[in-house]
């Protein structure tokens, strides 16, 4: 039983890690608290839904296009609105909150308020002894880890990636060194959005899709990012897996309605004891 929980927790953790990394990226590089992260989690699922149900493409191609669309939306949003409020952290929070709610309403109007079902990309499951692993979950975790690996590779090796890391570490000097901070901001926000949306589109086929589905993942992502340390990508990834385990462990002992309370209480406690998390530097 415990082994099943560990395995399931790991599979879920991959998705959490994916989403939390997106948040960590935006937080670390752009220094803004992005409350629209949950919205893009939801949007990812809905866009994938449209691709799969609306057109008859292969679901994997659908995912690919979902990612591209999300990146474009994210970058555009940053360019249009986000960049104007960089001066005030607090106003940014209110603004992103407003955007998140506006987006959710938009989704509700466009796709309807009812629960939707996205068919799993792969049917069936694998059994190893007593452990059941639905193929969709394995796929989700695998894709998640793959994307994270791509991300880290991109950040470490590519020119843009290095520029991004520079903007995170020495924001003022980066501009002086000739880095187009504007463009980097757009790219980073777009990337963060992609990560959230990918997480959403991977998560949705395993559960259900509804307009308000992004709020809990938003708070969980924040809990993970704060726990792992703001600005630390590795911390977020690790934290994501930890949270995956924790969620499944608690679901064994608590009724499903109360399971969501645990990440929030954890967040609260962590904020009281050690706001900078395990690996992070205190950004604010």
């Amino acid at each position: 039983m415990l082994l099943q929980i560990l395995v399931s927790g790991f599979l879920l953790g991959g998705i959490y890690a994916l989403m939390a990394s997106g948040l960590s990226l935006i937080l670390g590089v752009m220094r803004i608290v992005n409350l629209t992260h949950g919205l893009f989690f939801t949007l990812g699922a809905y866009i994938l839904f449209s691709f799969i149900i609306g057109t008859n493409v292969n679901p994997f191609i659908g995912m690919f296009f979902t990612i591209i669309v999300l990146f474009l939306i994210g970058s555009f949003l940053e360019w249009l609105i986000i960049k104007r409020i960089k001066y005030s952290e607090i106003n940014m929070m209110v603004l992103t909150l407003a955007l998140a709610i506006a987006g959710e309403e938009f989704i509700r109007i466009t796709w309807g308020p009812k629960y939707l079902h996205i068919p799993p990309l792969i049917e069936g499951e694998i059994r190893l002894g007593h452990i059941y692993m639905p193929n969709q979950r394995i796929l989700a975790c695998f894709i998640g880890l793959f994307m994270l690996f791509l991300l880290m590779f991109f950040l470490k090796k590519s020119k843009t990636g290095k520029a991004i890391r520079m903007v995170q570490q020495i924001p003022e000097t980066a501009a002086l060194m000739g880095i187009n901070v504007r463009a980097i901001s757009m790219v980073v926000f777009g990337l963060g959005v992609v990560l959230a949306g990918a997480a959403g589109s991977l998560w949705a086929p395993m559960y259900i899709t509804y307009p308000a589905m992004g709020w809990t993942p938003l708070l969980i992502s924040f809990a993970i990012v704060i726990l792992g340390g703001m600005g630390s990508l590795g911390g977020s990834i690790l934290g994501g897996f930890l949270f995956g385990f924790a969620t499944l462990l608690t679901s064994m002992y608590l009724s499903s309605g109360l399971v969501n309370v645990i990440p929030f209480i954890t967040l609260f406690i962590v904020l009281l004891i050690r706001p900078s998390g395990f690996f992070g530097k205190d950004i604010f």
């Binding site: 608290v33 609105i81 104007r84 409020i85 005030s88 952290e89 607090i90 106003n91 929070m93 209110v94 603004l95 909150l97 407003a98 955007l99 709610i101 506006a102 959710e104 309403e105 938009f106 109007i109 709020w215 809990t216 708070l219 924040f222 809990a223 704060i226 009724s255 309605g257 109360l258 969501n260 309370v261 990440p263 929030f264 209480i265 967040l267 609260f268 904020l271 009281l272 706001p275 604010f284």
Partner: protein, 318 residues
């Protein structure tokens, strides 16, 4: 010089007390005449709603506009006040006035509970903590139907005051008292120190102001007001449901305050009346309400972060 200044201040103080009394008298006349002129109970009901929202908005603005702390859970104090009244009435059959007072006390305690961590946490961390806290309360309210009545909440709470007119008077007076009390408080030394914390916290600390103490006091005052508003709302609506902890409520409060004008006392009141009446009159946009609200916030933040009052002040200056 010293004596001269003191005397002048005393005269000004007396003058302003007179002014305040005049305001109160006019206000009383107005709210007595108002229901008689417009013989419309529904309008009064909307005004009462606006009053309740205004109270919570003012309490929220105290932290956000004056001290500069973003608190994403005005719903916590409001909802806690409402549920306190609900519990006390259902299980203890408490007298309504007692219930209201205890609701205020609960608001006070909760604000201390949330206010103390705010000393350690800055901006974003604190905002997330409050958001998490309100989410926890929301989940608890929904998830424990035996105690809280679940989705339906607690129903059948008797009214504190019967009759729409009397509720209108009472709520309006609550708002008036709040506004006057806060205006007075802000004109004192304490108030000025509070504003200085918003302007530049580090500088204020350098100037010797114990910012933690003032933050906690501001938070506490806000908590009491919101708790009272919540308790009163429970009596007025005769029930309490998990919606009081919802993000939608928090968001409405933020919209009201930001639109009306943060950092002023009148701003949230004006914003509340504007939006509550607009909400009811434009019921056609009913399902688009949150969309419109969020659009308003985005617009206001982008183009006039100081809200309506701020825009008016700017126009006056020009």
């Amino acid at each position: 010089m010293e004596k001269h200044t003191l005397a002048k201040n005393e005269i000004m103080a007396t003058g302003s007390i007179l002014l305040v009394l005049i305001y109160v008298v006019f206000f009383t006349l107005f709210i007595i005449i108002f229901p008689i002129i417009c013989n419309n109970k529904f309008l009064l009901h909307i005004a009462i709603l606006a009053n309740i929202f205004a109270l919570v908005a003012i309490s929220w603005d105290l932290l956000f506009g004056f001290v500069g702390i973003l608190n994403l859970a005005p719903a916590v104090f409001y909802g806690a006040g409402a549920y306190t009244v609900g519990f006390l009435t259902k299980y203890c059959h408490i007298h309504p006035i007692g219930g209201l007072i205890i609701a205020g006390c609960v608001g006070l305690l909760l604000s201390l509970l949330l206010g103390l961590p705010s000393l350690r946490l800055r901006g974003a961390y604190y905002a997330m903590a409050t958001l998490a806290f309100s989410a926890v309360l929301n989940t608890l309210a929904l998830g424990m139907p035996n105690i809280t009545g679940g989705e339906e909440g607690i129903i059948g709470i008797p009214s504190l005051i019967s009759g729409t007119e009397w509720n209108f008077y009472f709520s309006s007076y609550l708002v008036l008292t709040c506004v006057l009390a806060l205006k007075y408080m802000l004109s004192t030394k304490y108030g000025k120190k509070l504003t200085s914390i918003r302007e530049d916290e580090i500088l204020s600390q350098a100037a010797g102001i114990d910012t933690s103490k003032y933050k906690v006091i501001a938070s506490t005052i806000g908590g009491v007001i919101a708790g009272l508003a919540g308790g009163y709302s429970c009596y007025y609506f005769n029930n309490v449901a998990p919606e009081v902890f919802s993000i939608a409520f928090t968001f409405s409060i933020i919209t009201i305050t930001v639109t009306g004008g943060i950092g002023t006392i009148i701003g949230p009141v004006i914003g509340s009346y504007l939006l509550t009446f607009a909400n009811e009159n434009l019921y056609i946009i009913g399902q688009y309400r949150l969309l419109v609200y969020s659009g308003i916030i985005i617009f206001v933040i982008l183009f006039s972060p100081t809200g309506i009052i701020g825009a008016v002040k700017k126009l006056k200056r020009n």
